[in-house]
């Protein structure tokens, strides 16, 4: 049976301490720059903060994973290398990487530190995963949120590394690491700059009738009725019209969050080694609530008890949750 490690988000030092105290087996975090995919304003860690965070976590038996999971544009690779050197010196337990050049650098320069393959690398087949294992010594793959449980079970049989899957949080629809939607509208790149619908380009407008529209760089992404639940102004969760859909519809996905709390035993049985909670951009309150709930659930399952999940729907986007592709391939 897998260990069912709980991998928890930390956008700030306070959130990291909250996650550790709430029972995280590992926390993941990033620096305050483009080297990670949550390069949001006011978020993330300075090297000094990371040093303190590592000390705090290690003193309590919690691992710290550093997200280095964006793609350096040519000419700027040094920023990623320096981030890796700094974090290795500070004693992080693993790097989460996507770019082959970054992976190669760390494998050669810091061979003692574990490499995890980020979901941003979009490795969704045994062959792709084996490529990264064979060449860079990747020890764990974070699987894209597009696979069914039988598919995950099959992959596990054919790869030499651990599997980590998302169990809660933002339900990304597009293949991660292959999405330039934000850059198309804003000029800031998800892959190169670590941003997705950057706040600097977001505007909310309230209308006379109580409805609210969300705009990204001047493009209307959605308009919510007075009582309607809202979501992030991400392009893939917007409402658009098509020639035969003049009324407007969620062309990609509704505002909805992933919640696999009911599938944990099946995921463990399929060979998933670690469960990832999304949300470095969320508050301590979110981290506390979600980590506590999943800590209790995993402990129950490990002890052979029925897990009794706290209701987390209030923390979900659009206040709706889904099991996405994990439940049925009809989702596709």
């Amino acid at each position: 049976m897998s260990l069912a490690e709980l991998i928890c988000p930390a956008g700030t030092p306070a959130a990291l301490r909250t996650a550790v105290d709430a029972g995280a087996d590992a926390v993941y975090c990033g620096f305050q720059d483009a080297t990670n995919a949550r390069n949001f304003p006011g978020l993330n860690f300075t090297p000094d903060e990371l040093a303190e965070a590592v000390a705090y976590a290690h003193a309590r038996g919690t691992k710290v994973l550093l997200a280095l999971n964006t793609y350096p544009p040519a000419g700027k690779v040094d920023l990623w290398r320096q981030a890796a050197d700094t974090a290795a010196r500070l004693g992080v337990d693993a790097f989460i990487v996507a770019d082959m050049g970054v992976a190669d650098y760390i494998a050669r320069t810091h061979p003692g530190v574990r490499l995890h393959l980020s979901v941003q690398a979009a490795a969704s087949s045994p062959e792709a995963i084996r490529y990264y294992c064979a060449h860079f010594g990747v020890r764990r793959v974070v699987l894209p949120r597009i696979l069914t449980i039988p598919e995950i079970r099959q992959i596990k049989r054919e790869i030499p590394c651990e599997i980590e899957t998302f169990i809660f949080g933002n339900h990304g629809l597009m293949v991660e690491g292959r999405c330039s939607l934000t850059n198309y509208l804003t000029g800031q790149s998800t892959n190169m700059d670590g941003v997705c619908s950057p706040a600097s380009d977001v505007e909310y407008a309230r209308h006379e009738d109580g409805s609210m529209s969300s705009q990204l760089a001047g493009f209307t992404i959605d308009r919510f009725g007075p009582e309607e639940k809202a979501g992030y102004p991400t392009i893939c969760k917007g409402r658009y019209t098509a020639p035969h859909r003049p009324e407007g519809y969620y062309a990609f996905e509704e505002p909805v969050s992933l919640n696999l709390s009911r599938l944990l035993p099946e995921l463990i049985d399929a060979g998933v080694h670690a469960f990832k909670i999304e949300g470095r951009q969320r508050s301590k309150s979110y981290v506390r609530g979600v980590v506590r709930a999943f800590r209790a659930a995993v402990d129950d399952i490990r002890a052979g008890r029925q897990a009794n999940m706290a209701d987390l729907v209030a923390l979900t986007e659009g206040q709706k949750q889904t099991q996405g592709a994990f439940e049925t391939k009809k989702w596709r």
Binding site: P41, A199, E203, R206, K229, A314, E317
Partner: protein
């Protein structure tokens, strides 16, 4: 295109006139003390605000007789109560019920969740709001408790009463 700075015209809410001005006068000395103390105890907060230390935030507790004007400039900190009929031009506006805003400051509630449920409304410069949120979220402990503690036992009693008064209507799940 986003120009980085927006002006937001205030919506009409009660909280103007004489009563409001009296209330503002009463709370102003308290606000000044509170904000100076928080700034002293949590200096790292300003680093997370980055370029938005000079942004004017209008924090609008819809159920109080006045709004709050915050400019988190470490060299010229400003936090004042303003009547709703005399609010300044603000770069960003955050609007919700008072206790919700208090709980957001203390990270007892999740800002995104409050936004999804439409209990929290944000307008103007969204990045400024996100930075303020993240800066406050990195503060350990309770700013509300700290504030209440400044006023000793009576202060804590007021906070407790306030929370009790609101709790039944907070549809917690």
């Amino acid at each position: 295109m986003n120009t980085g700075v927006h002006t937001v015209s205030p919506v009409r809410l009660p909280g103007g006139g004489v009563v409001s001005r009296l209330a503002c006068g009463v709370v102003q000395p308290i606000l000044s003390r509170v904000v100076r103390r928080i700034a002293r105890r949590h200096p790292s907060l300003f680093a997370r605000l980055g370029p938005h230390q000079g942004t004017d935030f209008l924090i609008d507790p819809v159920d109080l007789p006045f709004a709050l004007h915050l400019r988190p400039d470490p060299d010229a900190l400003l936090f004042r109560a303003v009547p709703r009929d005399a609010v300044p031009q603000a770069g960003a506006v955050i609007r919700g019920r008072f206790l919700l805003l208090l709980e957001l400051v203390d990270s007892e509630e999740d800002g995104d969740a409050a936004f999804f449920s439409r209990d929290l409304e944000v307008s103007g410069d969204t990045e400024a709001v996100v930075r303020l949120r993240n800066a406050l979220d990195d503060v350990d402990g309770s700013i509300a408790e700290e504030t209440a503690a400044m006023f000793g036992a009576p202060g804590r009693a007021v906070l407790a009463r306030l929370r009790r008064a609101y709790t039944p209507e907070m549809e917690r799940t």
